[in-house]
């Protein structure tokens, strides 16, 4: 026993080191696998408030671009108005009636933190559970798909960016309607890889890649990007397509959080079927 204690004392530094490394890796792995458990992320009050002050300065640099995006989006929305199914004279409160008559709810938000140069990139936005944001909602901007909400605090949310090797999106080719799965390969922030498009599909450079609408997260036909390059993987019979993302991830400020009304219903129904 005495020898054991002496051993511990001689190497106590090494044990402290191991302890800290163990805690770090526990946090690292835990954070990647379980949602909603950790509070040390940039939606916590301390980090978020500092980031918000910083973004209140840096926003001025992207005002011009933000204005262009907003006006483009306004134009787009105006074209949709006559077709919109609910009565414009109503107040746009989330009454049951409104909820029944639309498929998706859009909530505007502002990006206050963002990165593009890691394997796992995250985005922090300035809206949280107080504003009705929940985990697993989608984020889009005027120019295309941005990411998926992961953690929510009362005033802020963090989201997995499309530029995160953990995120897979169900996407399809707008021309031919073949669908596949889109993921980021961790190299350039301008490109992602679309897999699982079958070899018999007609693929050409410049075709648009959009969301498939199969998931309970994103609406159909949200632009993701255009085909930059492709090659056929003969052994597997699938194309590997390099997609140029439509969003400049180094420059996103104003985004919209999409909620699919009855998304939970679809989700739980699909879960039930998968269990059979």
């Amino acid at each position: 026993m005495r020898n054991f204690i002496r051993f511990i004392l001689t190497y106590h530094l090494f044990f402290i080191f191991l302890l800290f490394e163990a805690i770090s890796f526990y946090l690292l792995i835990n954070y990647n696998h379980h949602h909603n458990q950790t509070f040390i992320n940039s939606s916590n009050k301390f980090a978020a408030s500092i980031l918000k002050i910083s973004s209140s300065f840096t926003d001025y640099f992207s005002l011009k671009r933000a204005n262009e995006d907003l006006s483009r989006e306004n134009a787009y929305l105006r074209t949709l108005l006559p077709d919109n199914s609910y009565n414009i004279n109503h107040d746009i409160h989330l009454t049951q009636e409104v909820k029944d008559s639309v498929k998706y709810l859009y909530r505007p938000a502002k990006v206050i933190n963002n990165s593009v140069n890691k394997f796992h990139n995250y985005i922090t936005i300035d809206k949280g559970s107080k504003h009705g944001i929940k985990p697993e909602m989608g984020i889009i901007s005027a120019r295309g798909l941005v990411g998926v909400i992961r953690h929510v605090s009362p005033n802020y949310s963090t989201a997995i960016s499309l530029l995160n090797t953990q995120l897979r999106i169900s996407a399809r080719l707008r021309e031919t309607n073949h669908f596949g799965s889109l993921e980021w390969d961790g190299t350039s922030y301008q490109y992602a890889i679309l897999n699982e498009i079958p070899a018999h599909a007609k693929v050409s450079v410049g075709d648009a890649v959009v969301t498939s609408g199969y998931s309970a997260i994103f609406p159909e036909e949200i632009l993701i990007g255009t085909i930059e390059d492709f090659n056929l993987n003969k052994g597997e019979g699938f194309y590997m397509i390099k997609v140029k993302l439509s969003i400049d991830f180094k420059n996103i400020t104003y985004v919209e959080v999409v909620e699919k009304i009855n998304g939970d219903e679809q989700h739980s129904l699909e879960k039930l079927t998968n269990h059979d």
């Binding site: 106590h12 530094l13 090494f14 402290i16 080191f17 800290f20 490394e21 805690i23 770090s24 890796f25 526990y26 946090l27 690292l28 792995i29 954070y31 950790t38 040390i40 992320n41 940039s42 916590n44 301390f46 980090a47 500092i50 980031l51 910083s54 840096t58 933190n113 990165s115 593009v116 140069n117 890691k118 394997f119 796992h120 995250y122 922090t124 963090t158 961790g186 190299t187 350039s188 922030y189 180094k250």
Partner: protein, 172 residues
């Protein structure tokens, strides 16, 4: 002593703020990512107790992690650096050992000595950090390339920061 403590606290806050508000937003070419914050671990006095170094490393790493949503990543790399720092210092020790109260900074041991010390420390920290970030050896050459480019960027900024701080000391 109190004066020195105050200076360390101020430089700690300054280094963290520069890292979080400026350098974290600086993505040069998608690969280059300077991590200036480890400078604080590098410039602590030579006689700093080793366990205190480990604690500082862990806390500093966690603070940086909390801004980047990478809980545990920077903490693990910085703890490793804090653990290895005494070893690096022993390898680089002058022939008759360190004088009491000496700081591992250019104004005490010269620019060339500090550069060697910084290169070894920064490269070790960055290599570990980027391997943990990738969490695989699959993209090893991408990781190595990131490490080398980011190390150069970090070293440049550390040297710039040292120019400022050593000038302050001479004035006193």
């Amino acid at each position: 002593m109190i004066n020195q403590l105050g200076r360390y606290i101020l430089s700690y806050i300054a280094i963290i703020l520069v890292q979080v508000l400026i350098l974290n937003n600086l993505n040069l070419g998608g690969y280059i990512n300077p991590w200036l914050y480890i400078l604080f671990i590098l410039i602590l006095p030579v006689e700093t107790p080793k366990w205190l170094l480990l604690i500082f490393g862990f806390i500093t790493g966690l603070i940086i992690d909390s801004f980047l949503n990478t809980i545990g990543m920077h903490a693990s790399a910085t703890v490793l650096l804090a653990f290895l720092r005494p070893l690096f210092l022993r390898f680089l020790a002058p022939r008759d050992g360190y004088d009491p109260g000496s700081l591992p900074v250019p104004s005490h041991f010269g620019f060339a000595w500090f550069l060697k010390y910084a290169i070894v420390s920064v490269f070790t920290h960055h290599l570990f950090l980027f391997i943990v970030e990738a969490f695989t050896f699959e993209h090893f050459f991408v990781t190595l390339w990131k490490t080398i480019l980011s190390s150069i960027a970090t070293l440049l900024i550390i040297m710039l920061a040292q120019l400022f701080s050593s000038r302050e000391k001479r004035r006193i």
